[in-house]
Structures are given as C-alpha cells and as structure tokens.
C-alpha cells in the first residue's frame, strides 16, 4: 500500500528535542517578559499566560511553525454557531462553558458524570503540538492542551463489548444559533455526533483537549472539552462534548449521515482519495501562500498506519 511506505519526514528524537527547545525558549522569553513588566510576548504572539500551571510538553510534538493564536481562534468550522468560519469567534463570546459536565456511559463498569475541571484535576493534561488537517484542504499547527483519551477510558473499565466510542456535542439552540436552523432547514442534524473505533480511541495520539496555547479552550474552538484526532480530518474532532458512550456498534457520525458519498466514518487524512468536490492531494497551511503536499495520515502514518492494515482505505474513506 502506497500510504504506508512513506517515512515520516521528522524522526521522533528530533521532534522532542526541538519541542523542548521551543518550550524553554518560550519560558525564557516569558520570564524576560515578566521581568520587563510583561512587555514582551513570545514569538507566537500570545501573552505568556497559563491556565494550566505546571503544564508539561507531551510526546509527538511537531517542530513546524505554530499557527498564530489569532488565526487559530478566528477561523473556525463550528456549525453550531455558524457555517461562516469567522462568525464563531464573534457568536461564541457569551457561550457558557463552565460549569460543564460530561456523561460517560455505555459498556463501562459504572455510568459516571464528571465535571470538566474535576477531569482535568484527575488526569493532568499535557501540551501536544499537532498538525490539524481540515477536510476542506487547509491546515494548522496547534499547541493543544489535552488529556490522552486512553487514560480516561481505561479508568472507566470498558467491557469487551465496547468496540466503538460515541461522542456527542451539547444540544442547546439557545446558545448555538446554528442549531436553530433557517427556512431552508438546518445546516446539519443536531446534536453533532462523532465516533471512533476503540483502538483509535485508545491510541496515544488521541486527545480530549481542554485548552490550546496554554489557555483554557476558547469557546470558538470547542470549549470546554473537545476531541483531537490528528491523523483524521478535522470534522472528526468533535467539539463541546457532553456525552461519551462506549458502544458495540459503529456510530453514525453526523457528516457521514449528511453526505455519505463525501464523508465516511474513518476520515483518515489521505492524499490519494479525493473528496468528490475537491482534491485532497495538497493543502494550504494557514499563514502560507502556496499549497503543500498532504501527507498520508496527516504525517502520523508511522504511529497509526498499523491500525488499518486490513482495511481498504479507498472504500473506507
């Protein structure tokens, strides 16, 4: 299979050292900023605030240039607010992301509800600098703050019947104008639903992200807690999660239901399989003018290609 042959362009050792280097440099810049009265912001253009004291960098970090905080928080596909990418930043200002409870259910030892801050305390998050590739052929590099999902799932003691994980976004048309619909129907069926196979959910790359750039998750990026699956198209990374169920059947995810010809269940980043309406061979990194080639599994083939050895990725797109 062509998809698996391509080696990662960066070796893991390089990633870590570079990531650490950047961390340290940011720390130095930040402390310098503090000394000088907070006048200097780090190279990323973000003030050195942290909502996660003692946040440590986790594995898999890319050393690619991070997309600016400004771009990450002003260009969002968040249809619960609007189908226009600039609107969520404006419409999400009043969104109430705390207090926030996530209900865990399905094939687990005991049905449980967690407050998001409780979850953060129980499972200390890490910083994970990942590439994000949208199905619309643009991409970003985002320093997420997230809890590896497998830690949470393991603590729930899933039974052997738990073959898939089903995620659900908050349904609240009062807060989400996009859920109210228009004369010509709604943009999607609400609430938004996503799913992962259990081995995908248990993969060390998969995160329950609770922040980015060292801050609590901005409302427009899916506050307070969202999924991040960096080798899949962005729409898999469901936002503002209220419900996580371990189930025995493959969940019908929202976009797959909306347009099954265009969006599948797997949605692995794959330059060889085009979206019916656009090519997936290249992508535009936000902040750059020319397009760059898209990598199989968004550059995470080394980590995840093994999960799909017996799967035809052309039909299971």
């Amino acid at each position: 299979m062509i998809l698996i042959q391509r080696p990662a362009d960066i070796t893991p050792s390089e990633i870590t050292s570079e990531g650490l280097f950047r961390q340290r440099r940011n720390l130095i810049m930040a402390s310098a900023g503090l000394l000088l009265g907070g006048g200097i912001a780090p190279a990323t253009g973000v003030a050195a605030v942290s909502d996660f004291p003692g946040l440590k960098p986790g594995p898999f970090a890319t050393d690619e240039e991070k997309t600016s905080f400004q771009a990450v928080t002003s260009y969002n596909n968040f249809y619960e607010f609007s189908t226009d990418k600039r609107q969520p930043a404006k419409l999400a200002k009043a969104f109430k992301s705390r207090p926030w409870t996530i209900a865990f259910g399905g094939e687990i030892a005991k049905q449980q509800r967690f407050d998001v801050d409780e979850l953060i305390k129980k499972f200390p998050p890490q910083e994970r600098i990942y590439r994000l590739r949208c199905v619309e052929a643009w991409s970003m590099v985002i320093p997420w703050v997230g809890i590896p999902l497998h830690r949470v799932l393991k603590a729930l003691n899933p039974s052997s019947k738990a073959q898939y994980v089903r995620f659900e976004t908050l349904l609240d048309p009062k807060q989400f104008p996009g859920q109210r619909g228009s004369l010509f129907g709604s943009s999607l069926d609400w609430p938004y639903v996503e799913g992962l196979r259990i081995d995908e959910a248990m993969h060390p790359l998969t995160l329950l992200a609770v922040g980015l750039y060292g801050r609590f998750m901005p409302n427009q990026n899916g506050a307070p807690i969202r999924l991040v699956v960096p080798w899949k198209y962005g729409f898999k990374s469901i936002k503002s999660i209220v419900k996580i169920d371990l189930v025995d059947k493959q969940p019908l995810n929202t976009w797959n239901r909306q347009a099954p010809r265009e969006y599948g269940f797997y949605a692995n980043v794959n330059p060889a399989v085009d979206h019916p309406r656009w090519s997936q061979a290249r992508e535009r990194r936000i902040g750059e003018w020319s397009k760059r080639p898209t990598l199989p599994f968004n550059g995470y083939a080394e980590q995840v290609a093994g999960l799909y050895q017996n799967l035809d990725l052309r039909t299971n797109f």
Partner: protein, 225 residues
C-alpha cells in the same frame, strides 16, 4: 431663444403638471442615467476598494486566498443578478432608459468573475496545471464555473456597438440571451460548492427565478394585448 427641451413637454408646459407625468420624457431619463453612471461605476468598484483596504490592513480571514475567492465570487454573482434585474426594473418603473446602465453592470460582473478565476488559478492553484486540469475534469462545480466564465467572456467581448453592428441586432440578441444560461450555471456553481447549509444559494436562486418570472409575465401580458 426658445428652449429646445420645451417641446418635449407639449402637454405639460407648466412646472406643476410636468411633475405628474410618468414616465418622464426620454431626454430627461437619459440625462438622469448619464448623470448617475459615474456614481454607479464607483459603487461597482467599492467591493474591490474595500477588499484592497482589507488586504492592506490585514483584515482578511485567516485563509486570505479563500476569503478573496469568496468575495470576488459573491460580487460577480450579485452584479450578474443586478444586470438581469435591469430589464424587469424597466418594466416596473417604465424608465426605458435604465437599460443604458445594463452593459456597465454586466461588464463589472465579468470583471469580478475575472478576478475570481484569476485568484483561483494563480493564488489558489499556483498555476499548477495538472491540478487545475484534474479539477476541471472531475468537479462539477468547477465545470459549471468554467462554463459561466466562458459565456460571460463572450458576452463581454461582444458588448460593444461595433459588435452589435457586425453580428446584426437579431444575432447579437440571440447570443446575449446566453446571459440567462450564465445565471443558471452561476446558481448551480453556488449550490454545488456549499457543504451543507443551502440557505444562501437558495435565496439567490429564488431572486433569479423571480427576475425570470417578471420577464415571462411581461411578455405574456404584451402578447395578450
């Protein structure tokens, strides 16, 4: 000396009665249209000027190329609709000279279509012809987009008086009826590129349909007379 315009108001020699007459005489209409043309020109240019300002002051969206593509496309579409609205507007207002702004609106629609296509070819695709070729052959919305552009270009190129003479009025008119096809293909282009929420293409298509309907109703009414 006698005012040459005076005989245009044969039945309305006084100022008061002149106001009551509608439609105003052709010469007056022409004067209005001629005077408003520079303003209309400026108006049609505003989206471009505002966009240039946004480029200069870094106010484009985080994906500026996409933003530029969408803006130029939206204005091309709106101006094409405006062009198609002129004839129904003539019927409704009875101001037949309004038709004199139609060419300018049509040319501006084409102008924004050129920008739209240019942004797609140069900025978006980076003139990578193998990808552009694949796009054109595989993607229906690109195909209808290219069709629209071809139609608009042929209409723009033959929009001069010289071409009306060369083709002859009847043929010229036949050719320029392709603008209706362009309206339909533009609508399709819009529908097919939207991911899920069809509200906007729906609204624009309904407007287009009502413009077509106005023409049909007018022609039927005239035939019955």
């Amino acid at each position: 000396m006698e005012n040459p315009a005076a005989d245009l108001f044969l039945h309305a020699p006084t100022r008061q009665r002149r106001k009551l007459r509608w439609p105003p005489p052709a010469a007056v209409q022409v004067r209005w249209v001629t005077r408003s043309k520079p303003w209309l020109f400026l108006f049609c240019l505003t989206p471009l000027l505002l966009t240039l300002w946004d480029v200069y002051s870094h106010q484009l969206a985080a994906d500026p190329i996409k933003d530029l593509t969408l803006r130029s496309g939206r204005w091309g579409l709106r101006l094409l609709w405006a062009t198609l609205a002129i004839t129904p507007l003539c019927y409704i207002t009875k101001l037949r000279s309004l038709v004199r702004v139609r060419r300018m609106l049509g040319l501006f629609a084409w102008f924004y279509a050129c920008l739209h296509l240019g942004i797609y070819l140069v900025l978006d695709q980076g003139l990578a012809w193998q990808f552009i070729g694949a796009d054109i052959s595989k993607r229906p919305y690109i195909v209808v987009g290219a069709t629209t552009f071809t139609i608009l270009s042929s209409l723009a190129l033959t929009s001069t008086q010289g071409w009306v003479r060369r083709l002859g009025g009847k043929n010229w008119q036949r050719l320029h009826r392709l603008v209706y096809v362009a309206g339909i293909t533009t609508s399709l282009h819009f529908f097919w590129l939207v991911k899920s929420d069809i509200t906007r293409p729906m609204v624009y298509t309904l407007v287009l349909a009502s413009l077509f309907l106005a023409r049909i109703l007018h022609h039927n009414a005239r035939r019955q007379r």
